[in-house]
Symmetry: C2
């Protein structure tokens, strides 16, 4: 079983490169596969067109994330599950890959706890507590539902949305959603396809990272990558054999990772 | 097996009345159920907000429908499958109904043939042939996929979108989608929940319509209702035992139809 997370740079407003599609097809003929996508930039673009400016907040750890108010939650679901997800499904269907797109609210595939409060660093670099909005911390994945589809011969492709305790639509981080899905499915590999070759440290790609030693490394790593490494180490703790952060813009971006050492491996 | 089509007046931008939710819950405890929704007005509202004005065309038979260009097809999918569908899923999940929302492109649930050309009546009341855009005529329903979900204990809720022959996203009529789904599932009942009590003729509700005699009746019936009667008679020809057009705004809108004669029955 392999779970592939495809970020916003890879999926745009809902398309995939022929190289990725070919590889997904090849891999799907040999093993079970599930996909998780991102696409935050497209959410921002549509939200602003609809007159709902997007706000981003910075956590004390320096992690930047979307502030999801009520209106943004609806737009987030709309763009993720309606535009990007369906664009990806037709791109895969066109290649004869029987994809089924859905989100974490469907079949309660991903449950999350709404963050009641967020601690942020404000413009004056001071800590401030704000209402959590519609962002969630994942609590469980309905693996039975995912296996129903997978064992039925379908390839699930999930939007990073979760069902809250009060059945709210919650925005969840796509990398962490992928980690939880990979954990719940007992995946051998969680592959993050990104716009870079792997995790860089002093201009060199880090070959291997021990999931237990991630915290030592983090202060030396950039923003977006930090989130991915944390998600990867979370996946390992959830029982995934290995996570790989690698480029989605090379030839054979998936099968290359399966056949040789590539990108950064978190184990 | 019962299939319920819930139109735009019933679902708005993605919500359901407590009366409908209670009834779906009750019915789902006793028999299998699948849902199909509409929501065209919401598509129009969002499209116009995004600067994509919507055009409607009139067929020689007098039927008005959305002209779906490429941009509109994307917005249609986004609003239907991302906003309305997910809104309905969380409304149902909140009541403990394990709904799974998806569209006809997922698992190739609904396949359609793209209409190459449309014959329309232009502003000068003359026939004109235009490019068909992204509107489809349904050719098949993947009942295996629907049964996989239903027999797995989930309640499918479908957006009226289909997968074209070249894997295009196609806009399909929600009423006809419901008819084809009901036919493919061998439903006993296809229930159209609308904003009126049934089919009116000379200010009286028509109690029964023979599906074979629909064509005689149509010239005397109004616009939107005409489409529903046609879809209902199509469902009967596809093997559905009966179709009912009834109000979604009464108490017990579903169970009432099951327990007594209500609305207009097409058989």
């Amino acid at each position: 079983m392999i779970v592939i997370k495809m970020g916003g740079d890879i999926v745009g407003s809902g398309s995939l490169s022929p190289a990725i599609i070919d590889d997904i097809k090849k891999v799907s003929e040999e093993q079970k596969i599930a996909l998780v996508h991102g696409g935050g930039d497209e959410v921002t673009r549509i939200a602003e067109k609809l007159g709902v400016p997007q706000t981003f907040v910075i956590s004390p750890e320096g992690i930047r994330s979307r502030y999801t108010g009520r209106e943004t939650a609806v737009i987030y679901a709309m763009v993720m599950a309606g535009m990007i997800n369906k664009g990806l499904v037709v791109a895969l269907q066109k290649a004869g890959i029987n994809a089924v797109g859905f989100s974490g609210v469907d079949g309660a595939a991903i449950r999350a706890e709404r963050k009641k409060r967020l601690i942020i660093i404000d413009e004056n670099k001071r800590k401030r507590i704000i209402d959590g909005g519609y962002t969630g911390k994942i609590t469980s994945v309905n693996s039975e539902f995912l296996f129903l589809l997978i064992n039925g011969g379908y390839i699930p492709i999930l939007s990073p949305i979760a069902l809250g305790d009060e059945a709210e639509i919650l925005n969840v981080d796509g990398d962490r959603a992928a980690a939880y899905v990979a954990g719940a499915l007992g995946a051998d590999l969680l592959l993050f396809l990104t716009d870079v070759q792997g995790v860089y440290l002093d201009n060199t790609i880090v070959k291997k990272i021990d999931a237990d030693k991630v915290s030592e490394l983090l202060p030396r790593i950039g923003q977006g990558m930090e989130k991915k490494i944390l998600a990867a180490s979370e996946a390992i703790k959830l029982g995934v054999k290995r996570a790989v952060i690698s480029s989605g813009f090379i030839d054979h971006p998936v099968t290359s990772v399966l056949s040789r050492e590539l990108g950064t491996v978190i184990f």
